[in-house]
C-alpha cells in the first residue's frame, strides 16, 4: 500500500499565462506610447542644462532661507484657508445627510419610484466626484468673481459627492431589526429616524465628515492658485516674484498645519468609532 501523499496536481496555467502575456504587452504599449508622446514636449536639453543648474543653485538655498517679512499675512491667509475648508465641509455634511438617505437602498424601498430616485442620486453623486475641486472653483470664479466664496462652493460641492456616497453606504449597513422593532411598537417615520437610524449612523457620519475635512484642507490650500481664496494666491504671487524665501515659509506652514490637522482628525476619529 502506497502511503505517500502526492501533492495536488498543478492547476492548468495556460489561461493565466495568456492573461499575463496580454496584459504585460498592453501595459508596455501604454508606457511606450506615453514615453514617445511626451518626449517631444519634455525639453530634456533645457531641463538638464546649465541654466537649470544655475537656477537651482540660487533657488534652493533661498527656499531654505525662510523669509518671514509677511508672516502675519501668511497666518491670516492660512486661517482663511481653514475657514474655507470648514465652511465648505460643514455645508457638504449638512447636504449629504438627506442625500445619503436618498441613495441608501434600504431607505428607498422596493417600489418603482424608490429605485429610480436611488439610482438617480447615485449617478449624480458619482458625477460630482469626477471633477477635481479646483475645476469647480474655476467655474465658480468665472461666474461669481474671485472670492473665498467661490472656493467654499467648490469645496462644498466636491465634498458632497464623497460624503453622500459614504453616508448612503453607512445607512445601508444599519441594523434593520431595530427599525422593525420600532415599527412593531407603532412608531411613526420621524420617531424611527430619530431613535432607530440616527443613533446608529451618527458616529460614522461624524468620522467621515472629519476625514473629509482633512482632504478639504489640502484641497483649499491650492484653490488660491486660480483666485478662489486662501494661501494659494500668495504662493503663486511669491513664486512669480522669485521670492523663494517666502515660498519656502508658506510650504513649511502648509506642512505644519496639514500635519497637525491630520493628527487631530485621526485622534478624534479613533475616539468616535
Amino acid at each position: 500500500m502506497n502511503t505517500s501523499v502526492l501533492p495536488p496536481p498543478k492547476p492548468k496555467r495556460w489561461k493565466s499565462f495568456w492573461i499575463k502575456t496580454v496584459s504585460i504587452l498592453l501595459f508596455s504599449v501604454l508606457i511606450g506610447w506615453s514615453i514617445l508622446g511626451i518626449a517631444g514636449g519634455l525639453n530634456i536639453e533645457r531641463v538638464f542644462s546649465m541654466t537649470t543648474i544655475e537656477r537651482a543653485q540660487t533657488v534652493i538655498p533661498q527656499l531654505l532661507q525662510l523669509n518671514g517679512e509677511q508672516f502675519g499675512r501668511i497666518v491670516g491667509l492660512i486661517i482663511e484657508t481653514l475657514a474655507i475648508a470648514f465652511t465648505g465641509c460643514l455645508m457638504a455634511t449638512v447636504f449629504s445627510v438627506p442625500l445619503g438617505f436618498l441613495t441608501a437602498k434600504n431607505m428607498m424601498g422596493n417600489t418603482w419610484l424608490g429605485q429610480v430616485v436611488h439610482s438617480f442620486f447615485k449617478v449624480w453623486l458619482n458625477a460630482t466626484r469626477t471633477f477635481p475641486e479646483i475645476l469647480l472653483a474655476l467655474i465658480f470664479v468665472a461666474s461669481i468673481g474671485p472670492s473665498p466664496f467661490a472656493g467654499v462652493l467648490a469645496i462644498a460641492i466636491g465634498s458632497t459627492g464623497m460624503l453622500g456616497k459614504l453616508f448612503g453606504e453607512t445607512i445601508e449597513t444599519v441594523d434593520m431589526a431595530v427599525v422593525e422593532a420600532m415599527q412593531a411598537n407603532g412608531a411613526n417615520k420621524v420617531q424611527i429616524l430619530f431613535y432607530a437610524i440616527l443613533p446608529q449612523v451618527i458616529p460614522e457620519f461624524l468620522s467621515y465628515a472629519i476625514y473629509r475635512f482633512e482632504i478639504d484642507v489640502r484641497a483649499s490650500t491650492i484653490l488660491g492658485v486660480i483666485g478662489a481664496g486662501g494661501i494659494g494666491t500668495l504662493i503663486v504671487i511669491s513664486a512669480a516674484n522669485r521670492n523663494w524665501g517666502e515660498v519656502g515659509l508658506i510650504v513649511l506652514c502648509i506642512i505644519i498645519v496639514v500635519t497637525v490637522i491630520d493628527y487631530f482628525s485621526a485622534f478624534i476619529r479613533r475616539k468616535l468609532v
Binding site: S34, G41, L42, L138, S147, Y195, G232, I235, I255
Partner: protein
C-alpha cells in the same frame, strides 16, 4: 392611601435615554461647531445670505453661457488630452518603481530598526502634505514651464501616497512566511523576493491603479500653473470668455475620467 395614585419615585419623570452629562457635552460640541461655522463664514464672506437671487442669477447666466458646449473645438483638445494621460501614466510608473525600495524600508516587519522606519514614515507623511499643485509651482520655478515639472510634481505626490499604502500592506502580511524563510537560511533579498513580493503583488497593482486614477484627476489641473496638460486649455478659454469651448473641454475630461475610473475599477476588482 389612594391605590390609583402612582408612587412618587421619580416625581413622575421618566429617565431619558441619554444621560445628563452626555447631553451637556453634545450640546457643547454643537455650540463649538456653530461658533466655528459663524466665524469661518464671516471670514470667507460666505454666509447663507449669499445664496440670494443675485447669486442664482449669476450662476444661471454662467450656465446658459456655457450651453451648448462647442464641440467644434474638440480637435484642439485631443493632443493636450493625450499629453495629460501620458503624464499620468509616466508619473504613476515612476512612482510605482521608486515606491518599492521606499515601502520596504518604511515597513516595520522588514526593517526592524525603529529609527529608520519611523524616520521614513515621517518623511512620507511630509511628502503627502504638500499638494501636487504647489509642488508644480515650485518645479515650474526650478525647471521652467512644461511637462517635465508636471510629471515631477505628480511623481513626488503619488510616491508619498503609494509608499504609505504599500508599507501598511507589507506590515499586514503573514509574518510566518518571512520567519520560515529566515529559519531555513534565506538571506534578506530572498526573504523579500519569495515571502514578501508574492503576498503584496495584487495589492501593489491595485494601489498603483488607484494612484493612476488620482494622477489623472491631478494632471487635469496642473496646466493652471503651466505644468503641462489640458488645464491650460480650460484656463485659456475661460479667460477669453469662450465659455462654450471651456464647457466642451470640461465635458470631455468628465467622460475620459469616468471611462478610466471604470476600467481601473474593473481591473482592481479582478485583481483582489
Amino acid at each position: 392611601m389612594n391605590p390609583t395614585k402612582p408612587l412618587p419615585l421619580n416625581e413622575g419623570k421618566v429617565p431619558g435615554l441619554v444621560s445628563k452629562q452626555k447631553k451637556r457635552s453634545n450640546l457643547l460640541i454643537l455650540l463649538v461647531i456653530l461658533v466655528l461655522y459663524i466665524v469661518s463664514s464671516l471670514q470667507t464672506n460666505s454666509s447663507l445670505l449669499r445664496f440670494d437671487g443675485e447669486f442664482f442669477s449669476n450662476v444661471w447666466r454662467m450656465m446658459s453661457q456655457m450651453w451648448p458646449p462647442q464641440f467644434a473645438y474638440a480637435p484642439m483638445i485631443w493632443p493636450k488630452l493625450m499629453e495629460t494621460i501620458q503624464m499620468a501614466v509616466l508619473s504613476t510608473v515612476l512612482a510605482a518603481l521608486f515606491c518599492i525600495p521606499l515601502c520596504l524600508v518604511s515597513a516595520q516587519n522588514i526593517v526592524r530598526n525603529k529609527w529608520i522606519y519611523n524616520g521614513m514614515k515621517g518623511f512620507l507623511n511630509i511628502l503627502r502634505t504638500i499638494p501636487e499643485l504647489i509642488l508644480a509651482v515650485l518645479f515650474v520655478g526650478l525647471f521652467g514651464i512644461g511637462v517635465f515639472s508636471g510629471i515631477l510634481a505628480l511623481f513626488i505626490f503619488s510616491l508619498g501616497i503609494l509608499a504609505k499604502l504599500m508599507s501598511e500592506t507589507i506590515e499586514g502580511i503573514d509574518n510566518h512566511q518571512l520567519e520560515a524563510m529566515e529559519a531555513t537560511g534565506g538571506n534578506r533579498l530572498q526573504v523579500i523576493w519569495y515571502a514578501v513580493i508574492p503576498q503584496i503583488l495584487p495589492q501593489f497593482a491595485s494601489f498603483s491603479l488607484y494612484v493612476f486614477e488620482i494622477n489623472i484627476r491631478a494632471s487635469v489641473v496642473l496646466g493652471f500653473v503651466g505644468a503641462g496638460g489640458i488645464g491650460l486649455l480650460i484656463q485659456q478659454q475661460i479667460n477669453f470668455l469662450n465659455y462654450p469651448a471651456a464647457m466642451a473641454v470640461v465635458m470631455i475630461i468628465f467622460f475620459v475620467v469616468v471611462i478610466i475610473d471604470f476600467i481601473s475599477n474593473k481591473m482592481r476588482e479582478a485583481l483582489l
